[in-house]
């Protein structure tokens, strides 16, 4: 420290603005002394350590940007990061004093702004909210969010108005998305028939003969044994004959049983693209992991929404990937490993609740339709109605087999010499028929476009005839639906007016003035006059409604003239509530209560909150809130290295998310204290996670509440597999990344970004040095120490967990000798590496042995935990990050929650009932 007087003088010259800010403060609270004594050496008068100078701080706190630049100064002083520990240290009192002084000053300025302009910057719907809102309005399960550009986030949240931008790209995308939403909602055809198909791997949906050698499956008398997961197994090519003909609800029934396994095995049912070259460009949609737990055939049922053009896939995804050697021995016959026998899969649908579909009623209800003559839709699954040309079921094809031979013996029994001969003979006969088809001398039952038209164009791996002889329709065109009807309104203009005026208050989530409504009607009328079709004119109107600021922006953040400017009205409250708990627009009940001005009444609001949390739409809240708060939306971002972590598979992946979501759901339902987020004596896990965590057996794929043994490392969100996965990169873990994450997301005390030019700590993949050892320098280097003393401890404690959330005592390193070696299936490709040391010390010197002790330390401060949760809920629900100005209101929420023992549902109630929830 140089001469103190000199510094004050420098400040007087250089910090005129700063002094202005603080000059009105009482002498004892004057931050000037503090800033000049402890900060100016490095941050004033030409010195700009970390590229920050006190002179750059604005004196006028009126604009939000200016407040933003003061906030980090306050935070760094408050959290003890500044001044650095090798510089002169203020006393605790001095620090408290300056923090108080800065806070009150900043808070006063912010409050002034809030009363004048509101707390929340005008906020548009994010992509999810847009999709859910349209889905709920059009009563159709829409798929349009992907058509919109990715939303920017603030503190991980994509609900913050200030960061949700609009651009011309965005506007054009809205128009495309609205067209897509209308397309998905209406259907101008005759009511489609419900069809039921029973698909069997042994019948007309046989598997490709090409794969027969290596394919981890074995045809048995009543079905097909599947011995491996999807990867490399070509199970996904198996059901390729059936394409979902229409968007809608379907019922799928699967009859299956376990083979060679006392343990249950998950049989994954998913939808996606077609064929063995299925691209990831077609969204893979998990329908359900069916739990096959019996060696007796059992029928499992799934009902839900399927999309037109999707194909169904079924595979035991918990089994390791496996291929059998291509040696002509057909070793599958001798295989005694675990598997699932699939007898058949039955698809029934579309199951229609109404026709025309609900969305069409909303958009065009009551408009007369006329048939378009001469157009008929073909059935994309027509080939399933006729017997295949060459039946796969050997019982149907006696003529293919030499007399006296039992084909089942060949397929199910051990291969003897005779059987091998027969198999060869059979495949030659089959080939002959194929050749005849290709030569045009033999007509197949149905034209097979991509096969017959240009066989020489077929790339390697293209559809070859199946086992049964019928090709799999790999590149089957997307089933198009031709319109067989057109709208024919009796009085186009009157219909347009009726429909538009009906839509407006629903879309805008508030009553719409007659004059405003007339403008939208006029737009549609103009296009009717121009002579475009009724539908086209209506689409123009709907696009104007759904791109209008009244739809796209949260009205609570738009001005509502002539009302109390400091409190949002009941319509805006209904909207804020429904986007909070449903991620979507208010329903009729909320709208009604808003119209009656009753929603803001304490008891009514409480009752509605309860109703909304019970409603299945609240799943969206749990999913999206955790997705943003805990980064669970990023769960697909990394793929764990299967050489290191062979435990990882789609079932584990799903179970992880399911755990975190059901945990939070459980805290809400039981109103359990918020400290459970840090440390709980129970977990919500399913059968798979119980195994993964090494806990006693749990039945089924659905999570159960399981009490933890006393010494368990689990309990709380930090040690949930999903969290451990999103905070790792798939190959290794970094205490710094996890530490920063815990500070920001769990403790609510984020750490500033590293100074410029500091390289990331790189894990040594050969395993010679642990990351822990590399971190030691953080403690010795004072420049690093001030932040890393806070960052590293939680990160180090979490080193006991690998990237897939498994507890570890040693790191794993790749066994280089086995990498790249093909078909080493049953041997781990990793070796045990150095031991994990998860003990460390906190910045205040407290030591801990492992994550359990660290959790115990954190869990003591219920106040801090609740504060963090309240803060996250407020950012998510109101769409603005919290500031110093919000502190007293946040304190009130916490105090009220304390009366309810910090129960999570109570906290949600107190947030909703709080003053902050009502500020525009």
């Amino acid at each position: 420290m140089t001469n103190g007087r000199h510094v004050v003088l420098r400040l007087a010259n250089g910090l005129a603005g700063l002094i202005l800010v603080v000059s009105t403060l009482a002498h004892a609270d004057d931050p000037r002394q503090f800033l000049s004594r402890y900060c100016a050496d490095c941050h004033a008068d030409g010195a700009n350590e970390g590229e920050f100078t006190l002179e750059s701080l604005p004196s006028d706190l009126a604009a939000i940007a200016h407040l933003d630049s003061w906030q980090p100064v306050l935070e760094r002083i408050e959290t003890d990061i500044m001044p650095p520990h090798d510089a002169e240290q203020p006393t605790v009192e001095e620090r408290d004093q300056v923090v108080r002084a800065l806070k009150s000053r900043i808070a006063a300025a912010q409050k002034k702004r809030q009363t004048k302009f509101g707390r929340v910057t005008v906020r548009r719907l994010n992509a999810r909210e847009f999709e859910n809102t349209l889905s709920d309005i059009l009563r159709t399960e829409l798929d349009v969010a992907d058509l919109l550009p990715e939303d920017a986030t603030s503190q991980g949240f994509s609900t913050v108005g200030a960061t949700l931008n609009v651009s011309s790209v965005q506007m054009e995308a809205y128009m495309t998305a609205i067209d897509a939403a209308i397309d998905q909602s209406i259907s101008l055809t005759e009511r489609p028939e419900k069809q039921t198909f029973r698909l069997s791997l042994l019948n007309n949906h046989g598997y490709m003969v090409t794969y027969r050698d290596q394919h981890p499956a074995l045809p048995v008398v009543d079905g097909m044994n599947l011995y491996a997961t999807e990867a490399m197994s070509h199970h996904h090519a198996l059901w390729g004959h059936y394409v979902v003909p229409r968007d809608g609800r379907y019922r799928i029934r699967v009859s299956a049983y376990t083979v060679n396994s006392k343990q249950p095995i998950a049989l994954t049912l998913r939808a996606g693209g077609n064929g063995h070259k299925e691209s990831l460009r077609v969204k893979h949609e998990l329908l359900e992991h069916l739990e096959i737990s019996s060696a007796e055939p059992t029928v499992h049922e799934w009902t839900g929404h399927l999309k037109r053009g999707h194909y169904l896939h079924l595979y035991p995804s918990e089994l390791p990937k496996r291929r059998f050697p291509k040696n002509g021995q057909y070793e599958q016959v001798k295989w005694r490993g675990p598997g699932v026998c699939v007898q058949w899969m039955e698809v029934e649908g579309p199951i229609l609740d109404a026709w025309p579909p609900a969305g069409q009623e909303v958009l065009f209800g009551g408009v007369k339709r006329t048939p378009i003559k001469g157009i008929q839709n073909s059935d994309p699954n027509a080939q399933l109605h006729s017997r295949p040309l060459i039946p796969a079921d050997p019982r149907d094809r006696q003529s293919d087999w030499p007399p006296g031979v039992n084909p089942w013996k060949l397929l199910a029994g051990p291969l003897n010499h005779e059987a091998q001969f027969i198999a060869r003979d059979y495949s030659q006969r089959r080939q002959k028929i194929i050749d005849l088809i290709l030569a045009g001398k033999h007509q197949p039952a149905k034209p097979l476009p991509d096969y017959v038209a240009a066989p020489h164009h077929l790339p390697i791996g293209s559809p070859l005839p199946t086992y049964g002889g019928e090709p799999i329709y790999k590149d089957a065109p997307f089933p198009t639906i031709l319109r067989t009807q057109a709208f024919a309104p009796a009085d186009a203009k009157a219909e347009a007016e009726r429909l538009i005026k009906r839509m407006l208050p629903i879309a805008f989530r508030q009553p719409v003035k007659e004059a405003a409504a007339d403008r939208y009607v006029a737009l549609v009328h103009r296009w009717i006059d121009e002579g475009v079709s009724f539908e086209s004119a209506m689409r123009t109107g709907y696009k104007a409604i759904f791109t209008s600021p009244r739809f796209l922006f949260h009205q609570s953040t738009l001005p509502t003239p002539s009302e109390d400017p400091s409190t949002i009205n009941d319509f805006a409250l209904a909207e804020r509530l429904s986007y909070f708990l449903w991620n979507s627009t208010p329903d009729a009940e909320l709208r009604k209560l808003a119209r009656q001005n009753r929603l803001s009444q304490h008891d009514v609001l409480r009752e509605q909150t309860e109703r909304m949390l019970r409603d299945p739409r609240s799943e969206r809240f749990i999913e999206d809130f955790l997705g943003q708060w805990l980064d669970l939306h990023e769960i697909n971002f990394t793929s764990p290295d299967l050489n290191l972590y062979p435990e990882y598979d789609p079932v584990l992946h799903w179970s992880m998310l399911h755990e975190s979501q059901s945990f939070f759901r459980h805290l809400i339902e039981e109103d359990l204290p918020a400290r459970n987020l840090i440390r709980s004596d129970f977990v919500t896990i399913n059968r798979r996670l119980a195994t993964h965590y090494g806990l006693p057996t749990v039945e089924g794929m659905k999570a159960s509440v399981v009490e933890l043994p006393k010494d368990s490392v689990r309990g709380g969100v930090m040690t949930q597999a999903a969290v451990l996965k999103v905070t790792a990169n798939g190959t290794n873990t970094s205490p710094v990344i996890r530490g920063v994450w815990v500070l920001e997301r769990i403790l609510g005390k984020p750490s500033p970004p590293p100074p410029p030019g500091v390289p990331a700590v790189e894990p040594d993949i050969r395993g010679a040095v642990t990351i822990r050892q590399q971190l030691e320098k953080h403690r010795s280097d004072t420049a690093c120490a001030s932040c890393h003393a806070r960052i590293d401890p939680p990160g180090v404690a979490l080193e006991s967990f690998d990237p897939v959330g498994r507890f570890r005592e040693n790191y794993r390193v790749l066994n280089q000798e086995l990498i790249g070696v093909k078909r080493v299936v049953d041997q781990p490709r990793y070796q045990t590496g150095l031991p994990v040391d998860s003990s460390y010390l906190l910045s205040d010197g407290t030591t801990f042995q492992d994550i359990r002790e660290l959790k115990a330390i954190y869990a003591k401060d219920e106040f801090a935990i609740t504060r963090m949760l309240v803060d996250r809920l407020l950012v998510y629900s109101t769409g603005a990050t919290t500031t110093v100005a919000d502190e007293d209101e946040i304190l009130k929420i916490i105090e009220r929650s304390a009366e309810d023992e910090f129960g999570v549902r109570s906290i949600i109630h107190h947030v909703i009932q709080s003053r902050l929830f009502r500020i525009p």
Partner: protein, 434 residues
């Protein structure tokens, strides 16, 4: 300045013509407004010679293994590195850079967001992006061509291009769709329908703009700034729809090449990138656009390339394992191979006294300097074409990198834009002369 559109492009290498697949007999598409690229009153900057220029930006988001890429010596007589040997036939047509990066752009893979914007800390929670260099140019010259710029993504979502407000522009992923939009002529009926659709769109935007204006009056200042983004966007879309109506009525350029077949296999990054490059070449040759960006996304799956048995992304985290490095080199050489083919294609077309490559700046690089450790410094960068004095290895300080934005400034000026600064630039890039 108007002469640029008068003459058809000719070719000086017949065999290349077939590859390019352009019906060269057709004259240039007449420009709607015969104005120079930038407003008349602009100052001609040192880098600009007033010729019409194009820009192509390519980013391979999994990087290149630098020991195989960076030449061991610098200057004009540098020894080609293993990777650059692939491009060696074109040695005097490109410059290779080492020791450049964007200051404070970190965050591993997140850095691809800042590759063309240079905005710091793309991985941080409070990151807000800004306009990308290609869009900055498109704002200036984009209205001269059928489409202002081509924003492409070879594999998967995302792109390199960002709007002024920091909104990502979704990359077009289907070569066939772009091809149809640019080159497949519509029937008179289709054209009429399309024009009506655009007029309807414009009328929607007009309507909405009116609503927005009514609301705006009563907004606070911060809200108004935010809301201004919305009204500006609406206005832009309206104008764009009017502009497109004009282009809709202009016949599309004819190319004697079939519609490309989209590659469905997402693992085939190289194949899709190649299709994208071919598309860009066609678009430039027909002056359908002058700006293009391609984000080439390496995928987890095993690419269909002889000698590669592991996923591309996995290989990029090679940890110096020999087997992985060998496979990685196979893929990365393929990347440079398709770049070479692309450059040749541009070199084989001429415009006036120059080749199209001379008038097209092709920047190829990555946001990762070391993909294995997710490091974002010392990026691999190649700049080809644009009429610079090429043929050297410009080696900047490995420890104290030259801002990549300096190269962007040089390119912007070469483009004719009166721009002195971009991103984190400190000036023009040293050592690269026109």
């Amino acid at each position: 300045m108007t002469r640029i559109h008068q003459k058809p492009m000719t070719t000086h290498r017949r065999q290349m013509l077939r590859g390019a697949g352009v019906a060269l007999a057709l004259p240039w598409l007449p420009s709607l407004r015969r104005k120079p690229a930038v407003a008349d009153e602009r100052r001609l900057l040192p880098e600009s010679d007033g010729k019409p220029r194009r820009m192509v930006f390519i980013c391979n988001n999994l990087g290149l293994h630098m020991p195989n890429f960076v030449p061991s010596d610098s200057g004009f007589g540098y020894t080609a590195s293993p990777y650059l040997r692939v491009l060696d036939e074109l040695r005097d047509k490109y410059t290779v850079f080492s020791g450049t990066s964007h200051p404070h752009v970190d965050g591993g893979h997140a850095a691809e967001k800042s590759f063309l914007t240079a905005v710091p800390h793309p991985g941080s929670g409070s990151f807000r992006n800004s306009i990308s260099v290609d869009q900055l140019v498109a704002e200036q010259v984009g209205n001269r061509t059928r489409i202002p710029s081509l924003v492409l993504s070879a594999n998967g979502g995302g792109s390199l291009s960002w709007t002024r407000g920091g909104v990502p522009i979704p990359g077009e992923t289907s070569p066939s769709r772009v091809f149809r939009r640019l080159f497949t002529p519509g029937s008179p009926e289709e054209v009429k329908q399309q024009v009506t659709r655009l007029r309807q769109g414009a009328s929607v935007m007009d309507m909405v703009l009116g609503e927005a204006k009514r609301l705006k009056k009563s907004l606070s200042r911060d809200d108004r700034d935010k809301f201004e983004e919305y009204t500006t966007s609406v206005r832009q879309v309206e104008r764009e729809m009017v502009r497109r109506q004009q282009w809709e009525k202009q016949p599309k350029p004819r190319v004697d090449q079939p519609v490309p077949v989209d590659i469905r296999d997402q693992a085939d990054t190289i194949g899709t990138s190649k299709l994208m490059y071919e598309l860009i070449a066609l678009a430039l040759q027909t002056d359908s656009t002058r700006i293009a960006s391609v984000l080439s996304v390496g995928f987890f799956a095993v690419p269909p390339i002889e000698g590669v048995t592991e996923g591309y992304h996995t290989l990029s985290h090679h940890g110096l394992a020999k087997d992985k490095l060998a496979q990685l080199a196979v893929i990365e050489k393929e990347h440079l191979g398709i770049l070479r083919d692309f450059l040749f294609k541009l070199e084989s077309t001429t415009e006036e006294e120059d080749t199209l490559l001379d008038r097209t700046m092709v920047l190829f690089g990555s946001d990762l300097g070391n993909a294995s450790s997710h490091n974002n410094t010392n990026l691999p960068i190649v700049l080809a074409g644009g009429g610079f004095k090429h043929g050297q290895h410009l080696a900047f300080d490995q420890a104290n990198n030259e801002p990549l934005s300096n190269l962007y400034v040089t390119m912007l000026q070469r483009m004719g834009l009166p721009v002195e600064r971009f991103g984190s630039s400190t000036g023009r890039i040293r050592g690269l002369e026109a």
